[in-house]
Chain length 319, copies 2
């Protein structure tokens, strides 16, 4: 068990970023959603892939993080995404996260150039770590080759761990490949390095193999059930719980998953603005939304306390 | 022939971004290099792929563009890259370019999410165009699937042309596939839409098929020879000229091409800072630099007036 960042173990979610009708971020809905996640036992990996984080500017991300802190939400439960193509952006966001008391940051490599060398990626991470130069910094590496195309090799992890022990604190594996996650667990999981699955469909084997938990999109909608498995994975019904999680996820995965989760929240909260996305992503069409609702109704899926996810009336009328 | 943007036809180059030793942009070298390109007859596609543009922040790009204008360089010869993953960044850069009098902008689609829909990309371009809302805006679409992974389909071009005639002004095709460039020329080249090859190795067939020219990396080092072909492509030795361009390019392409071009400029200008790159890209190692110099020497390659590319002494001593 990691002794380092207890607030960043178990289940975290790349927090969906809600927008107003004009596609500006909606701070009120964002705070509501983060509060809801925390109540369900889910940590806040704000500004991840499922947060449309790369569709937000640096200043929008800084402002949203400030909003959470101003609302009194606990930074020890936050792992903001701070990676960027331009290293000065990554440095600015990482420094801001550390100065805000965030327990860790989840760092994408620069992802525009493809086929780059481990030496180049090492220098990139090193430049951020040395520019931030803060003993409180904890970096979780973000391996998501299906999207970023630029991955984090075992050699790179090893080199970073050797050079920055205590700073390099873990990895999120969104390869979608259990054999890769299993190999990471075997090679690197320790009391100083936490391996997270990138999806709850791998939560049980990850925990059985000593991993830290999962950082998963569908934590945004199916939070309680995922947390239940994380808390009770040694019990007799764990495999059955895992199967139910997989069944629910499979429904969301029939569609572009961010749009599907936003549609489900809009439906269950009664707040239609929740469907709004920034280009290049688009919302589900009416037929897809209807199908999704039917499929979720058939399995008895409900978002707990969904009404608390709507913006308060004041912002709704302004938006 | 396009009547719209005469300053943006022929040969343009994604201008290399020189850095100081601390990896901050070097305005003095940047101005020198842009002046050199213009003297050779090459237009300024600043902030392209070969400019490490996505490794620069929005404010660094704004400042570099301001530096060129303050130095008196002609905006009618400039096509800055302004695409970004976050649309507000693309809007800010595009607005700044238009307000600076730049003849056009070269726009990458948002490139983090893969497999996105044409509808989503259409909305992205539309959002930038409508936010900038300026009749002077000319958008050149940037198709570079080998790097961005997100391309510009024929359907998308058609839809954008229908909706924004006069604004959508052309495309740079960096697919690396002549059949694709040929099809673009056949379908879209007109007096209102210019097709540029993304490499000088396709310059002759592009011009023979009515295209506007090329926007090419190696314009940074082999400018005069490329411009000569663009100016004399109807002459008897055009194929031989093309072959010589290809031979020179092939040498640079043995290496990561940005690093190779920077190494060649550092060597020929005598200014070693020119090799500096931002992670995740890295400079050539000593052996590669030596090999490159040998190969270039063997074909008698020289950068004309290379000494003018060095930073002036004042900045060199500060850097």
């Amino acid at each position: 068990m990691s002794m380092l960042m207890p607030g960043l173990r178990g289940v975290l979610s790349p927090v969906l970023t809600p927008f107003n009708a004009d596609r500006s971020p909606s701070p009120a809905r964002f705070v509501n959603h983060c509060r809801w996640l925390l109540r369900q036992g889910v940590g806040l990996a704000v500004f991840g892939t499922n947060s449309e984080a790369n569709s937000l500017t640096v200043s929008e991300k800084r402002a949203l993080l400030d909003t959470l802190l101003d609302a009194g939400l606990p930074p020890e439960r936050m792992m903001p995404g701070t990676g960027a193509c331009a290293l000065p952006d990554a440095i600015e966001l990482t420094r801001h996260a550390v100065n805000s008391g965030c327990a860790g940051v989840l760092m994408l490599p620069p992802f525009f150039y493809k086929g780059v060398s481990d030496e180049g990626l090492f220098r990139g991470f090193a430049e951020v770590i040395e520019a931030v130069a803060d003993a409180r910094l904890r970096v979780y590496l973000y391996h998501i080759p299906p999207v970023a195309q630029v991955g984090i090799s075992f050699d790179l992890i090893e080199r970073l761990l050797m050079r920055y022990p205590g700073v390099i604190a873990g990895i999120k594996d969104s390869s979608g490949d259990w054999t890769h996650t299993a190999a990471l667990l075997k090679e690197f999981q320790s009391d100083r390095f936490d391996v997270f699955a990138g999806t709850e469909t791998l939560l049980l084997p990850t925990l059985q193999n000593g991993g830290a938990g999962c950082i998963t999109a569908t934590g945004n909608v199916n939070a309680a059930a995922i947390v239940r498995l994380a808390d009770h994975w040694r019990e007799a019904d764990a495999a059955a719980q895992q199967q139910r999680l997989n069944d629910t996820r499979a429904i969301f995965q029939r569609y572009p998953i961010i749009a599907a989760m936003k549609a489900a929240i809009a439906w269950q909260s009664g707040d239609p603005h929740w469907t709004t996305m920034r280009p290049p992503l688009i919302e589900l069409d009416d037929a897809q939304q209807h199908e999704l609702q039917q499929a979720l109704t058939q399995i008895g899926f409900e978002i707990e306390d969904a009404s608390t996810l709507a913006a308060d009336l004041q912002e709704t009328s302004a938006a």
